[in-house]
Amino acid sequence: MSRHVAVVGAGPAGLAAAAAALRAGARVTLLDAAEEPGGQYHRMLPAAFAATRPERLHHGWRGFDRMRRHVLGHPRCDWWPESAVWSLERSAPGDPRPPRVHALRGPADGGRRERHVLAPDALVLAPGAHDRVLPFPGWELPGVFTAGAAQALAKGERLAVGDDVVVAGTGPFLLPVAAALLDAGSRVAEVLEANPPATVLRGWAGRPWELAPHHGKAGELAAYGALLARHRVPYRLGRAVVEARGDGRVEEVVTARLRADWSVVPGTARTVAVDALCVSHGFTPQLELPVAAGCALRRVSAAESYVQVDGDQLTSVPRVYAAGEITGIAGAPAARAEGLLAGWLAAGGSPAAPESHRARLRRDQGRAFAARLAAAHPVGAGWPGWLRPDTVVCRCEETSYATLCDAAGDPAGGAARTVKLGTRAGLGPCQARVCGPTVAELLARRAAGTPGHPVEGLAPATPHHRPIAQPIRLGELAAPPHPPTQTPNQHEEENP
C-alpha cells in the first residue's frame, strides 16, 4: 500500500509538494482554505468570472496551469478546497505517526461546515505567510490596506482599492503591488522603500554570482521599473509613510525621509492626498500549524521566527515536513523547490535520486536569495519613533502604545503573557496575527537585559501558539467528524 501524504496549503510550495509526492507514488490529500489552488502568488480569479484570458494577470501562468491541472486531475490526488485546518493533533508519545489533521470543509466561517479528520503517513506543511505591517498613527483608518490586500483584491476580485494610492514599506513586493494597482486603473502617487539606497545596494550587490540563478527575477524587476517609469510613478528610497490622516477614512498621508535605522529626519515631512494607502514591512510566516505539530522554530529576532528544517525540509517532528515561506521568506521559485523536495521525501522518494539532488540545489539557491532579501530590506530599529502615545498598536483591542509601554515597564508585569492579559494586546479576534511581531519586538526592547519573568510551570509565551488555528464555531466543534472517508481511491485498496 502506498503512503498517504497530506499537504496543507496549495500555493507554489504545497502544489509542488503534491506533484512530487504523486511522482514518488504516494496518495495525496491536498488541502487549502481557498476555492482554487495557487495561494497568494497565483491567486486565481473566481470561476464565476468566466475569464477567457486569466493568464494576463500572472507571471509564469503556463507552468502553474500545467502543474495545477496535473495535480488536481491525478487519480491518486484528493483535492480539498475550502478546507480550514483548525487543529493538528499530536500522536501519543512513542507513536511514530505524524499529527492527525482536523479540517472543516465548506464556505469560510460558515456554521455548517463538515468536520473531517485525516490520519496521514506523512505531513507537508506549506501554509505561507502574510504581510507584516508596523503600526503608525492612523493605520487603522479605513482605506489603509496591506499591500497584500491591494494585490489580492486586484488579482482575485478585479477591484481597485482607490484612485490615488501611495504604496509604502520595504521589499521588492511593493513593485508588483504597484503594478497590480496601475493595471486596475489606480493612480499610484509614489512607491516608497523605507530603506536608503546604501542598505539596499549593500544587501543586493555583494557576491553577484549568488544572484546568477535568479536572473529571471532581475528581468521581472526591470519590467516593473519600466512600468513605473511609463506611468511616471516615482520610486523613492529612504522615505516612508509615518502617519495616515482623515475623517473616518484615509484622506492624506504624511511621508518623511528616514535615516538608515528608520528614524525620521526632522523637517522632511510632506503630505500627499490619497484615497487609499498600501503598506507592507515584510512578511510574517503562518506558524500556528507547525507550532501545533510541535516543530522547533528558528528564531531570527524577537519579531521573527521560522520553522527549523534540515537539508531534507524535515522539521524536528518525524514525518512532518515544511516548505515555502514558513521556513524563510524567499519567494515562489524557492518555495517550489522546497515543496518538491519535501513532497518527494515525505512520500518515501529516495534522498539520493536525481530529483532530490536538483531540488536541493535550487532550494539552496533560494536560501541564498532569501539571505540577500533580508539584508537588503531589513526593518530598521528606529520605527517606534513614528509612534505617539495614543497610536493604536493592537488593532483588535485598540491597545495604545502608551498602555503597552506602561505594562512593559512595570517590573511585576513585563512578561509577554502578563502584558497580554493586562493590556489585551493580541487577545482580539485576530489573536495577535497582526500585532504579535510588533508587541514581541517592543517588549523585547523594553526588557533588554532583564529576564522575561517566566511563569513557573508554563512554557515561555510565544505569539505563534494558537491552540485553535482557525476559527471554529462551538456547534461545529460539538458535531462528530465526518465518517473517515479520507482515503483517496479507496477502491484501489479494496481491489488490490
Partner: protein, 109 residues
C-alpha cells in the same frame, strides 16, 4: 473617489460578469457572481462596515483572512470574514459592531 471594480469590457482577463443581489443592512445591493462579500461592499463604494470596540470604523485591511477587521453577519451568522466569504445571490448581510447587541464581545473565540 472610492474602490471600484474594473469594468468587464476593459478587463484584459476577459471577464463575463453575471449579476447577483445581496441585501446589506436592509438595502438591496448588486454585485458580480464570484466576488467575496468584501468585494461587493468595496465595489459599491463602501469602505467601512464594522465598528472596533471604541466605535471606530473598520473595513478591509489584510484582504486574506488574517486580521478579522472585515467581519460581517451573513444570513444570521455573526463573525464571517467578508474577504473570505464568496457572496451568493440572495445573501442577507448585516454589519456588526464589536460589542454584541446584548453586551459582551468576541473574546470567546
Amino acid at each position: 473617489m472610492s474602490p471600484r471594480l474594473i469594468p468587464a469590457e476593459r478587463d484584459p482577463a476577459g471577464r463575463r460578469d453575471s449579476v447577483l443581489r445581496l441585501t446589506v443592512d436592509g438595502e438591496p445591493l448588486e454585485g458580480v457572481a464570484g466576488q467575496t462579500v468584501a468585494g461587493v461592499l468595496l465595489a459599491a463604494g463602501r469602505r467601512a462596515w464594522r465598528e472596533a470596540p471604541s466605535g471606530a470604523p473598520r473595513g478591509v485591511f489584510c484582504g486574506i483572512g488574517v486580521c478579522f477587521d472585515c467581519l460581517v453577519t451573513v444570513n444570521g451568522e455573526r463573525d464571517v470574514r467578508a474577504c473570505r466569504r464568496r457572496a451568493l445571490d440572495g445573501d442577507v448581510v448585516t454589519t456588526q459592531a464589536r460589542a454584541l447587541p446584548g453586551g459582551g464581545g468576541e473574546g470567546a473565540r
